[in-house]
């Protein structure tokens, strides 16, 4: 398990100002850490498509948001992602809870997991995995990749944050 406070600290060191989110079990501790941090403005939304567009507005307005949602919400938000963060060439980090990650090697797979990575690839979203503290440096590498390509990059939360 990756420690939520270490994830948050890494995000803050990169200049993160806002976390735009809809709750996910895997990211629950991260969202709670964000709520408790006076340096981070939490922006809860009703649906994940709003998160993409609202994050785009925050960025264009000069802020540095991170989007924290579950993979199911990512799938729901497809056209919002396409029409805002992707089409506007905005380098935002997406922290996406990977529901069903552990079912991938099993006979009965969670359908959310079946579609998730193929959809990321289809939608031109590079990604990496974050499941433990050893993966926290990937926050920096993914953020840098987003800046270089001026488009979103995703980090997939494969384990619940602690």
């Amino acid at each position: 398990m990756a420690q939520a406070k270490r994830i948050l600290e890494a995000l803050k060191q990169l200049g993160t100002t806002h976390i735009v989110s809809l709750p996910d079990n895997l990211a629950r501790a991260l969202l709670e850490a964000g709520e408790a941090d006076p340096d981070i403005q939490m922006v809860p939304v009703c649906r994940e498509g709003e998160a993409m567009a609202l994050a785009a507005g925050l960025y264009i307005g000069g802020k540095q948001p991170v989007v924290v949602i579950q993979c199911t919400g990512f799938l729901e938000a497809g056209d919002a992602l396409r029409g805002t963060l992707w089409a506007m060439k905005i380098p935002v980090l997406l922290l996406l809870g990977y529901r069903g990650y552990r079912t991938l090697g099993q006979p009965q797979k969670d359908s959310a997991a079946v579609f998730f990575e193929p959809t990321l690839r289809a939608w031109d979203i590079p990604y990496d995995f974050l499941g433990s503290d050893e993966d926290i440096p990937k926050i920096v590498s993914c953020w840098k990749r987003a800046q270089e390509r001026s488009r979103p990059v995703a980090l997939l939360l494969t384990e619940e944050c602690s």
Partner: protein
């Protein structure tokens, strides 16, 4: 009921240094009336999300008024934004709903609930308190200066007649703010907002 032209003329006359985000049926006619550096057309973007984008701008730029000229069909695609506006209040944000009861750019098919929806009641039910609606140019013109100064977030429904505009597109032969790509315009807006 007003015409869209009357509503936009009134807005354009009262507008000073606010950011204005348009979409769908308002995009081209607004561009014909306004050539302001802080105009932005959510065209070629994601349907239904102009208001979400505009709210993000408002939260990022609390010292500037941000206006979104949204359509009723567009609002219905992301109706939760009204609750998100309450959860993340931006006193500088004004959401205008150009309510014509139709999906104007696809042939004027009626929006769901057309003729029965009360956007003011929905907005108040979500917890918004600066909620207004107008169907006559004179009353809208008289009220607008105070609305622009009020502490929001503000929701204004403008009852306008449907027209026959096609879908707005980007490219030459358009108003200036629709001639470049969405990304170019978005980043140009960012530079202006940041004073770069």
């Amino acid at each position: 009921m007003m015409t869209k032209a009357e509503a936009l003329d009134i807005l354009a006359a009262a507008r000073t240094d606010e950011v204005v985000v348009t979409c769908m049926g308002a995009a081209v006619p607004w561009g014909e009336r306004s050539h302001h550096a802080l105009d932005f057309a959510s065209v070629g973007s994601a349907m239904g999300h102009a208001a979400d984008f505009a709210l993000g701008l408002a939260l990022a730029q609390p010292h500037r008024k941000v206006l979104c000229l949204n359509g009723d069909g567009s609002l219905l695609m992301s109706l939760g934004i009204l609750v998100t506006m309450v959860q993340n209040p931006a006193p500088n944000f004004l959401l205008f709903i150009l309510a014509n009861g139709t999906y104007e750019v696809t042939g004027n098919q009626p929006v769901p609930g057309a003729g029965r929806l009360d956007y003011s009641a929905i907005a108040r039910g979500c917890g918004l308190w600066q909620v207004h609606e107008f169907d006559r140019p004179a009353t809208f013109r008289a009220a607008l200066p105070a609305l622009l100064q009020a502490e929001g977030p503000t929701v204004v429904t403008l009852h306008v007649a449907p027209e026959n505009l096609g879908p707005p597109v980007r490219g030459p032969h358009n108003p200036p703010y629709l001639q470049r790509s969405l990304a170019e315009d978005a980043h140009a807006l960012r530079q202006r907002l940041l004073g770069e």
